[in-house]
Each structure stands twice: as C-alpha cells, then as structure tokens.
C-alpha cells in the first residue's frame, strides 16, 4: 500500500520544486541563468512521477513487508530529536550518556545497571576519542 502512495509524494514534491524553480529565471541558451537546470529537472521529474503513478495503478504486485514495531520507531525518533536538542546545551558527554542509556533500554536490554555502565563507559570512550585523539570540536 505504501508504495502506491510514495509516487504521489514524488509528484507533489516535483510540482512544488517546479513552482519554486519558476521563480528563477530560465535564461537563454546564450547565457543560461540559475533556473535552467532546476526547471528542466523539475519538468522531467513531474513527468516521470506521473508515469510511475500510472504504472503502479496498473500493476498488482506488491513488495513483502516486514513487520515494524511502530511504537519503538516513534520512541527512537523522540530520542534522536532530544539528543540533538540538548546536544549543545548540556554538552556532548552528558547528552550522549543519556541518549545511549535511553536507546539501550528501548532495544530491550535487560536490567538497569548494565545499560547504565555501558552508556557511561561508551560515552567516555567516544568523548576521549573524538575530542582528544581526533581533536574534533564538541560542545
């Protein structure tokens, strides 16, 4: 079912892109301007998306879907978003530690002590590795 919807997204995206690209001047062959390629690409994309939708409507095949635990999905996303939000605020080490612990629990790690230690240990290792050894600037 999802694959029937996806081409629509492409169509939508391509149309939006084309409209935005319309704001850019096309120019002439003599001196092409910024809109040259975007408009060409946008038109082609819209055409292809239409073809794809047409083809999908006709065909009956579908791709075997794996089961997905959607609750986990949402929680992981929340975790990720939190991580990058607090990243700059509380610093790399603390943020990574909390994030790792959170993810470990989501991934069904048993118990509380072990994930705690793993998260702490890994955060330390990563921090040292990146900050001192590779001299990456981390908040």
């Amino acid at each position: 079912m999802t694959e029937k919807i996806i081409p629509f997204f492409f169509l939508l995206g391509s149309v939006v892109y084309l409209c935005l690209a319309g704001q850019l001047t096309f120019g002439t062959l003599q001196s092409p301007r910024s809109g040259f390629l975007p408009i060409l690409a946008g038109i082609t994309a819209v055409l292809f998306a239409l073809f794809l939708i047409f083809k999908q409507l006709r065909s009956k095949e579908s791709i075997p879907k794996e089961n997905v635990d959607w609750t986990k999905f949402i929680f992981i996303l929340i975790g990720l978003l939190f991580y990058i939000t607090i990243f700059n605020i509380i610093g790399y080490f603390a943020a990574t530690f909390i994030f790792l612990f959170y993810l470990f629990k989501i991934a069904d790690t048993k118990g509380w002590i072990f994930p705690f230690m793993m998260a702490a240990g890994s955060s330390i290792v990563f921090y040292l590795l990146f900050k001192y050894f590779l001299a990456v600037t981390l908040p």
Binding site: S31, P32, A41, N67, W70, I84, T96, S122, F126
Partner: protein
C-alpha cells in the same frame, strides 16, 4: 630507464626512519579516520597541519598523503558490517558488502576489500609514476563541455545499471539532482530553494545524505524489528577469509576497478564516489549473473573498493604535476604543501626530486603497510559483529551522529541526517533504491556546472558541445548506449505481446 632510477632513489629516501615513521603514523590515522563514519580526511589533515610546522617537509607530506589514501581502506569496514557508509564513496560497498555480512561472509568481504584496495592502490601509484605528466596534460583538455558530456552520459548509464526498475531509479536520480541544487550557487550568485534559511545555503553535504539514508535508516530498520534478535550467526575461522572461488571471482574486478578508478580520478569532482559507482556498474555488466548484485555478489565489493583507491592515486597527479587540486582531499594536501613553502607544479619534479620521488615511493610502502594492518583487523572487526545488536545499534547511532557533527559543526546537519534517515527507512520498504539518489546528488552539480559553463564557452551554441572532439565522442557513445537498450527493451515488449496474443 630514468624513471626507475629516480624511483629507486625515492625508495631510498622513503625508508629513512623519520619518513617511514611518518608514513606509518599517517596510514594508521588514515585507517582510523576511514573506519569512523563522518570524520573525513579533510578535517583530519587540516587539524594536523599546524602540528606539522615543525616537522621536516618531506616527512610531513608523506604523513598527510598517508592519511589521505589510508582513509579509503577503512571506509568499507562499517559499510560491510553495518550498512553504514563511512563516507560517500563507501555507499556502493554497502550494497553488496552488507548482504554478504548477513550471510556470514563478512570477513571474506572485508578481506577482498583490503586486498583489492592494495592491488588497485599499487596500480594507481604505478600509473602515477609512469604517466604523470602526459596524463595531466591530457586531463587539461577536458573542459566544461566535456564534463557536461561525461556527467550526462554517466548519469544515464549509472542510473540504468544500479537499481531495479528504470523508472524508479530515474525518479530517484532526478530527486538527487533537485536536492543538489538547493543552496548558495556560486555559478549564479544566489541562494536557491533556501526559503531564506541561512543554514541551507551550504546545500546538502553528500556525506550527510549518505550517512542519513544508509546509516540512520539502517539503524531505524534494525531497531524497530518486533523482536530484536541478539544472536548473530557464529563466525568460524574459515569464514574470516574468502573461499578460493570467491578469490577467483574477485581478481578480475580488482584489476578492472583499479584501471577505471585511475582514469576517473584524473577528472575533477568527487572522484572516489564516482569511480566506485562506475566500477559497480561495470562489474554488473560484465558479470555472468547480474541478478546476484545487490544480494551479495563479491564482485560488487572487489570492484568498487579497488576503484576508489586507485582514484585517489590518480587525483594526486594533477596536484603534483600542475599544482592544481581537483577535489577536496587534494586541496587540503595542497595547503599542506604551501604551509611548508613548497608549491607543487610543473617544476616540482625537477626542482625537488627528493620530495617528489620520496613521496611517490612512500605511497607504495604505505599501501603495503595498509594491507598488513588491515588484514588482521578483519578478524577484530568480525568479533565486533558479535556484539548483540541491541548494544551495537545505539553505539553506531552515536558514532554516526558524532561523525556527522564533526563535518560542519552544525546541529542543523544532525537534523537533516535524522530526516534522511527516516526517508531511508521508508525507501527500503517501498523498493526504491537509494543509490540513484546518491548518484543524482553527486553528478547533478557537475552536470549543471558543465552545462552552464559549456554553453557560455560555446557561445550558446548547443551544437558546439557535439562538435568538440572529446565531448562529441562521449555524447555519441552515450547515445549508442541508450539506443542499444531502447531497442532491447522494445524487442522484449514485442516478445511479451506476441506471447500474450498467441
């Protein structure tokens, strides 16, 4: 031959203890940088530049070069084992390397990648030694119209040969091109599609895209399986290394990859990425069972990995003979040169033969060192795979995000990487191949640049692109390719129609 004597002289210089040490340090750092996703060679070398002020120039440059080509060896590790490309050039390795790992052939894949990298790297350095000046001159005659021709034909060919459905691949490629136009465009001087958000001016970094779609996408896919399985198939010692059959199948791709990568490396642009994709397409074409590609064909690992290593050697040619960097990596190497007061160019060979030949000789040694280092590492990395997935995945997630942050020091990038991760997750579920997307975003800017510059150079005469000898030839070859496949497709359709009607 004079070249050989000079080369021998170079070897003599490169085995001097300080240079040898510099080479070892360089390749070690390079491997580390390559294995860790995100941290790229450019930043690593840039960080070490100030430290090198005090070092002897030859040693410093040998070290930087070591980092540069060393990183290409490591990039395949995370790609094969965890479907997380360490950098854009390793994306292709994910496509067949990861399925191999899932079948328990991960060790074989890693070994083949290491050996292929060595063989191709050496081929590249040999090419560099023998043909540097004439190749550089030849590379110069490629101008914007030629780049446009190559980009266009390359785009069509690569889209056709990677991925399954042509229509879907084409759509992905176009999306890639469109994504590539977002940002501040120096060709026109304005920001496109940025909605006034300054952070978007940078456009989408290729690595962010690749790490998002493949890396975070993979993590999301694995972690949301209803029951996170902890048991990874036990790895026996035999599985660490390739079987004789796999070895036999890999030899030709390694050499083909080496040659192709070398040729593509001479052209400007992201040579590593383009060469690995091209090698993949070539291998698929030459293979006896192309359907295996995407599910664990060893040629799909041997070819691309070799290609991107020899491409690196080739990118050194314009740098050393003309003093002109064709890609980001060589640009930073150029900075390294300049900091030590050496300006590479046509005079470098004659004025600083010690440096030139010492550097080249050290590349041979470096490649050998890398092989020696990487082979045992295969065993270690396979052990890492034994880590239960519920521990491994979060760690990889953090690793990927940190690496991504280190590219531009921007949290904004992290947002995008998560966004692309979600997209990658859904792409997998709908049978849309992400590879053409990467091709689109890599080739798109080259295509546009070549088109716009080419049109100005030919005074708006689009036939000018056809009449120039080089670009004309390339475009004609591309046309032949398209016609060939269209005819085949038409005859297939005819066949089906006949079968249906009879």
């Amino acid at each position: 031959m004079e070249t050989l004597t000079m080369l021998l002289h170079g070897f003599y210089i490169s085995i001097m203890p300080i240079n040898l040490l510099a080479c070892t340090i360089g390749v070690l750092i390079g491997t580390l940088v390559g294995v860790l996703p995100g941290i790229d060679t450019i930043s690593a070398i840039a960080l070490l530049l100030p430290f090198s002020y005090g070092m002897n120039s030859t040693a410093a440059l040998i070290m930087f070069a070591g980092i540069y080509y060393g990183s290409k060896y490591g990039g395949s590790t995370t790609a094969i084992l965890m479907n997380v490309p360490g950098e854009a050039a390793s994306v292709v390795t994910c496509m067949d390397g990861y399925p191999m790992a899932q079948k328990g052939r991960g060790g074989a894949a890693l070994t083949v990648a290491a050996i292929g990298s060595f063989i191709a790297g050496t081929i590249g350095v040999i090419g560099l030694t023998m043909f540097a000046p004439p190749l550089a001159q030849a590379a110069l005659s490629f101008g914007p119209p030629e780049y446009f021709a190559i980009a266009l034909v390359g785009l069509i060919v690569l889209t056709k040969l990677t991925g399954t459905s042509l229509l879907k691949s084409a759509l992905m490629a176009l999306t890639g091109i469109m994504l590539g136009t977002i940002g501040l465009d120096s060709l026109s001087g304005i920001s496109r599609f940025t909605f006034g958000v300054a952070e978007l001016d940078r456009g989408f970094d290729l690595s962010i895209l690749a790490m998002g779609i493949f890396g975070i996408g993979e993590i999301l896919t694995v972690m949301t399986k209803p029951n996170t399985q902890n048991n990874v198939p036990a790895v026996r010692f035999r599985d660490l290394y390739p079987t004789s059959e796999e070895g036999r199948r890999s030899v030709a791709p390694m050499f083909r990859g080496g040659v192709i990568g070398f040729l593509i490396g001479l052209l400007p642009g992201p040579a590593g990425t383009i060469s690995s994709f091209t090698s993949y397409a070539l291998e698929k074409r030459c293979s006896k069972n192309p359907a295996e590609f995407g599910h664990g064909a060893i040629e799909g690992v041997a070819g691309p990995e070799s290609a991107n290593n020899s491409a690196i050697s080739a990118t050194m040619i314009p740098l050393l003979t003309l003093g002109l960097p064709f890609c980001g990596g060589t640009a930073i190497l150029l900075s390294g040169f300049m900091i030590h007061g050496i300006i590479p160019g046509p005079a470098l060979i004659t004025q600083q033969p010690d440096l030139f030949w010492g550097l080249i000789a050290s590349m041979y040694i470096g490649n050998l060192l890398l092989l020696i280092i990487n082979l045992p590492l295969v065993g270690i990395f396979i052990q890492l795979l034994k880590t239960p997935l519920n521990l491994l995945m979060p760690l990889v997630a953090v690793l990927t995000l940190t690496g991504a942050y280190s590219i531009n020091n921007s949290v904004f990038d992290l947002m995008w990487i998560i966004f692309f991760g979600i997209i990658g997750f859904f792409l997998r579920r709908t049978g849309l191949e992400p590879a053409p997307l990467i091709i689109g975003i890599v080739v798109g800017p080259e295509l546009e640049q070549g088109l716009i510059q080419g049109l100005i150079i030919c005074d708006g005469n689009i036939w000018g692109i056809f009449t120039r000898p080089l670009s004309g030839t390339i475009l004609v070859l591309g046309l032949v390719f398209i016609l060939y496949h269209t005819i085949r497709w038409l005859s297939k359709v005819n066949h089906l129609r006949e079968e249906v009607s009879s």
